[in-house]
Each structure stands twice: as structure tokens, then as C-alpha cells.
């Protein structure tokens, strides 16, 4: 039901991001989507990539501290209002979205998000027949 996301702690200092990207490049890992939120001192660089487990190992080998987490990925039609519909499904069920980012893939909008109640979110996704994207779908399209 969920896909793997890599989270990397990045200080606000030039050179830190390129170190991560170079390590991924060396390992021939493809980035599918990524986002960085910033605070005054640091950010968390979150990314969805090909072969996340191998990517994680390769980053560790390069001495980059990385956490693997599970996030939801659902596909929506690439039309106005679809994201609102999807999020409404969760908010009506009292589930908060902690963070979300999105990208377009194969003509579909993909929403990546984490909630404060993964179990309940999963129930909702099943009940409402939301279109779940799994890791192999991503590999296939990319």
C-alpha cells in the first residue's frame, strides 16, 4: 500500500545537497520526485527514487545519514479539483496530512503524503477505492 521514501537531513550550507546528488548519480539511481522544506538551520530532503533500498545503502556507504520511511502515493486525474477531492476524503475522516508533494507521471497526478494515522488512512484508501500507486508502478513508468 505504501512506497519507500528517503529522508536526508541537510544543513543550510552550500555543498551539502550536491554531496547527496553525487552519491545517487554514482550509484546510477534515478530520482522520480523530491522536495526540500527549509527551516533557518536545516532541511529534510525527501525523495522518491528508483531502487530505494539500494539507494539507501549507497548513501550510507557515502557516509550520508538517511532514514527510510513509508509514504502513501495515490494517482489522480490531471484535472482541476482532483487534489481537493482526494484531500477532502481524508480531512472528512479526521485524518491530518503532515506533508504532501506531487508530480505528474504518465498523464496522471501523483500525490505523495504522510498522515498522522497511517492505519486509518489505509482504510479510507481501500473504502473509497483510491488509485494507489505502488513501487513497481513507479519503476514501470520511469
Amino acid at each position: 500500500m505504501t512506497i519507500h521514501q528517503l529522508s536526508i537531513f541537510i544543513e543550510n550550507r552550500s555543498g551539502t545537497l550536491i554531496r547527496v546528488l553525487n552519491a545517487l548519480k554514482e550509484a546510477n539511481i534515478q530520482i522520480i520526485a523530491s522536495t526540500i522544506a527549509d527551516t533557518a538551520e536545516y532541511g529534510i530532503y525527501r525523495l522518491i527514487c528508483s531502487e530505494p533500498l539500494r539507494a539507501c545503502e549507497e548513501l550510507k556507504k557515502a557516509n550520508i545519514a538517511v532514514a527510510l520511511s513509508d509514504v502513501f502515493a495515490i494517482a489522480i486525474d490531471d484535472q482541476p479539483g482532483r487534489a481537493a477531492e482526494a484531500v477532502k476524503t481524508f480531512s472528512e475522516a479526521g485524518i491530518s496530512i503532515i506533508y504532501m508533494y506531487s508530480f505528474l507521471l504518465g498523464g496522471k497526478g501523483i500525490l505523495i503524503f504522510r498522515t498522522d494515522d497511517a492505519q486509518r488512512a489505509q482504510q479510507i484508501i481501500e473504502e473509497r477505492h483510491l488509485s494507489v500507486i505502488n513501487e513497481s508502478d513507479l519503476q514501470h513508468i520511469s
Partner: protein
């Protein structure tokens, strides 16, 4: 008392009365030895005392203090009390803050030094069938040769691995069946990190049973963390090159303070301002008088290390004075906005957080005429949760404030970001205007 628990049974188990009688006898000899040298002759004349004024142990307080400055002023050989041809070794400090200091040794001085180190290592359970790896700098740094000769004196197979090259250290530990390591605490942490990266579990893959850590002030929390990492007991070692080097004080298996060997030293704790003795249990500056040195005996040497007396008896059967771990040096003390702060206080707090790694750096800066402290500390584990990081920062700030009464700027940094030294760790960088 089982004799086999002691390296020097006779001396280690002396009663208080016997210790003090021996100290007085040796103090008189030491004073005689000092008076062979012009520097001490002058000092005694200035203080208006002679050797005959030493009639009881309390008379040690009549003697003038010796300071690091004295050693610098008499650089290199001005405090030798034997002809240079009777000396077989010298050790010297780096001299980063002025003239270096030189300490001379006769062969007997070296033998006595080795005996103290051997006594310490025996005390924590090491025996001739152990393998001792000394991962400390050699050369002028006394932690190298000091432990080398002591471990050999005990009869252990001794590996002079020296500091650095962690992969090679780990290979030695595994190939040679190393059971004991001596290193500075920050280097043990570094070694553990490399072991983890290499998939080596110290509990499963090594025969380690004892660590001797010293030469850097470290907190009880840091020691416990090291013990948990490596799965073995870590014993605190105290030494200083002016007193030979390592060997002066060491923890026994009770781990309740360091025994300072009073057959070798007279220990005083004084108020660093008034130079008057402080009562047992109160913090003051450690002052040491050597009792067995020929080449360079030192009278009432002001160590600048701050500690306190914990007791003069111990379940281990040794009545040699027990001192608390060093609180830092009086010259390590930072004064920030009028508050006195020791790096060890900061370390103690940081080590309470399992989320944090062991490496940290304190930077003092002046911003718009205000002095500020920034504490950078490495995260042990990455996370996907901002809230957790922010809560962590807030909690570190809060607990630091409780400890040092100021709120520092706390910066979480990724693991492996802060500089790692293979000698003594640099913990404080002072960039304040007044110091430039």
C-alpha cells in the same frame, strides 16, 4: 585481602597512618633533592624557609607553589635536580601558548612511572595473558610511551598501535585478540563508528574487556555511553606530563572516583583564588607534590585541574585518596556574560539525549556586542519528522539553560559533519572580539 588483586600489595594496602608516615619521609627526601637546584634554592630563600622547616606532613603548606610558568621560565633544563648525564629521557609539551615545558627523567623515574601504570592496569583486572593495544599518540605525548612501558611492566603483550587509522586498529583488535585498549574518549567513539560502518560488533567480534580512557576531561554520561557502545568497562585515567604522564590516578573496579597514589604524590585541593585548602567534598584546584622523582621533583605543582576529594577508603581495599573526575581545567573555563561555564557541563547534558551522537562543538562569538554561545551537535539518527527535530532542539536548549543558566544557540548537524580529531578533541572555539 587477596594479594593477587594488587600489583604492589604492600604499598596499595597501606593504612592511612602508614601512608602519611611514608609521605613525610619521602617529602623530606624530595625537598633535599630540590635544594640541589638553584631555582628551588632561590624560591626557598624568598619564602624564608629551609629543609628543616618540614617536620610534619602539614608543613607541606609552607612550601612555595610551582606553576607551569616556572617550567617555561626555566626552559629547557633549569629545573633539573640531577646532572643531565643522569637523565635518559625528556618529554615536552607542544608549547602552543608560549615556551614549551620540558620534563626530564632518570632511569629510576621511568621505572617508577611504569610501576604506577602497571599498578593501575592490574587494578582493573588486566594480567600478563591480556593483549593491550595502546591507541594513543606516541612521541612527546606521554600517553603513548607511558602506557607502553606500564603495560610491558605488567607483562602484557603490548601493541603500540598509536592513534589514527581506524581500519587498521580494528584489524589489530581482531587479529591479535586485543582485550584492552587505551585511547582518548573521543577516539573510542570514533573507533566504534568505524566498527559499525564495517559491520563489526565489539561484543560479538572482539575479545575486548577493558578500556582505559583519559587525557580529555569527560563526563560520567560520556563514559556510560562508551561502555554501552563497546560492551566493556571503561576506566578513567588521570595523568599529566608534569607528573610523568598517565599513572598518577586511576579508577578501581568500584568506579567511584580515581585513586591517586599517595606513596608517589602529596595531593592537595586548594581554592584557586586564595590558594587555601578547601574542605573535603568541595571543588578546588588539584595541587600535586612528587615524592619519588629524581630528575625533576615538583613541589606543590598547580595542575589547574578542578576536582574534589570523595574519600580516603574504598571497598577495593585501597586507602589512597579518591578524587572525583576532573571538572575541567581552571583555564578551560569559559566566561560568557559573566557566567562561568565548563565544556564538560555541556557535554553532560548532550550525552543524555539518545538522539544525539557524541561529537559536538562549542563556538563563542560576539554579535552586535553580545557574546553568544553556539552548540553544534551531530544527530545520531536521521528522521523524517520536523516536529521531532524542533522538539529536540527546544529540549536541548531548555536543559542546557538549566545547567549553565544561559540559553545557547543549538544547531543540529548531520553525522560526520564536525571535525574529528585523532588526538585530543577540540571542543571549544572562541571567536569573540576580545580574544582577537
Amino acid at each position: 585481602m587477596q594479594k593477587e588483586n594488587y600489583f604492589n600489595f604492600e604499598y596499595e594496602t597501606l593504612s592511612r597512618e602508614e601512608i602519611e608516615a611514608l609521605q613525610l619521609e619521602r617529602l623530606k627526601k624530595t625537598v633535599q633533592q630540590c635544594l640541589k637546584n638553584e631555582f628551588y634554592q632561590k624560591k626557598f630563600a624568598e619564602a624564608g624557609i629551609t629543609a628543616d622547616d618540614i617536620q610534619s606532613l602539614a608543613d607541606v603548606r609552607k612550601l612555595p607553589f610551582t606553576t607551569k610558568q616556572d617550567l617555561r621560565d626555566t626552559y629547557p633544563f633549569g629545573m633539573a635536580c640531577v646532572p643531565l648525564r643522569d637523565c635518559v629521557r625528556l618529554h615536552s609539551s607542544s608549547g602552543t601558548t608560549g615556551n614549551p615545558t620540558v620534563i626530564l627523567h632518570t632511569q629510576r623515574d621511568l621505572d617508577e612511572w611504569a610501576n604506577q601504570v602497571a599498578r593501575n592496569l592490574w587494578m582493573v583486572g588486566l594480567r600478563p595473558d591480556d593483549v593491550f593495544q595502546n591507541s594513543s599518540g606516541y612521541g612527546m605525548f606521554t600517553g603513548g610511551l607511558g602506557f607502553q612501558y606500564g603495560a610491558e611492566r605488567l607483562g602484557m603483550l603490548t601493541v603500540p598501535a598509536a592513534a589514527g587509522n581506524s581500519l587498521r586498529q580494528i584489524k589489530f583488535i581482531r587479529d591479535f585478540g586485543t582485550t584492552a585498549i587505551h585511547a582518548v574518549p573521543s577516539y573510542v567513539t570514533r573507533l566504534y563508528e568505524v566498527m559499525k560502518e564495517e559491520g563489526v560488533d565489539p561484543r560479538r567480534d572482539t575479545k575486548l574487556k577493558v578500556l582505559a580512557i583519559g587525557a580529555e576531561p569527560h563526563s560520567e554520561e560520556q563514559r556510560q555511553r562508551i561502555e554501552q557502545m563497546m560492551g566493556v568497562k571503561a576506566y578513567n585515567s588521570f595523568g599529566m606530563s608534569e607528573m610523568c604522564g598517565p599513572g598518577v590516578g586511576f579508577e578501581c573496579p568500584e568506579q567511584n572516583g580515581l585513586h591517586f597514589w599517595e606513596d608517589y604524590y602529596i595531593v592537595e585541593i586548594v581554592d584557586p583564588e586564595t590558594l587555601e585548602p578547601v574542605p573535603d567534598g568541595e571543588i578546588g584546584e588539584l595541587v600535586l607534590t612528587t615524592l619519588c622523582r629524581e630528575a625533576m621533583p615538583l613541589l606543590r605543582y598547580r595542575t589547574r585541574d578542578l576536582t574534589r576529594v570523595l574519600g580516603r577508603s574504598c571497598p577495593c581495599g585501597r586507602n589512597h585518596i579518591r578524587l572525583d573526575r576532573m571538572r575541567g581545567r581552571s583555564d578551560d573555563m569559559m566566561v560568557l556574560r559573566g557566567v562561568n561555564i565548563f565544556p564538560i557541563q555541556i557535554e553532560k547534558i548532550l550525552m543524555q539525549f539518545p538522539e544525539l551522537a557524541s561529537n559536538y562543538l562549542i563556538t563563542l562569538t560576539t554579535d552586535e556586542e553580545n557574546d553568544n554561545m553556539t552548540v553544534e551537535v551531530e544527530l545520531a539518527q536521521p528522521t523524517d519528522d520536523y516536529k521531532q527535530l524542533q522538539n529536540l532542539e527546544r529540549e536541548i536548549r531548555r536543559r542546557l539553560k538549566d545547567e549553565i543558566l544561559l540559553t545557547p544557540i543549538v544547531k543540529l548537524v548531520a553525522k560526520g559533519t564536525l571535525p574529528v580529531s585523532e588526538g585530543k578533541a577540540v571542543r571549544v572555539v572562541d571567536k569573540r572580539k576580545v580574544y582577537q
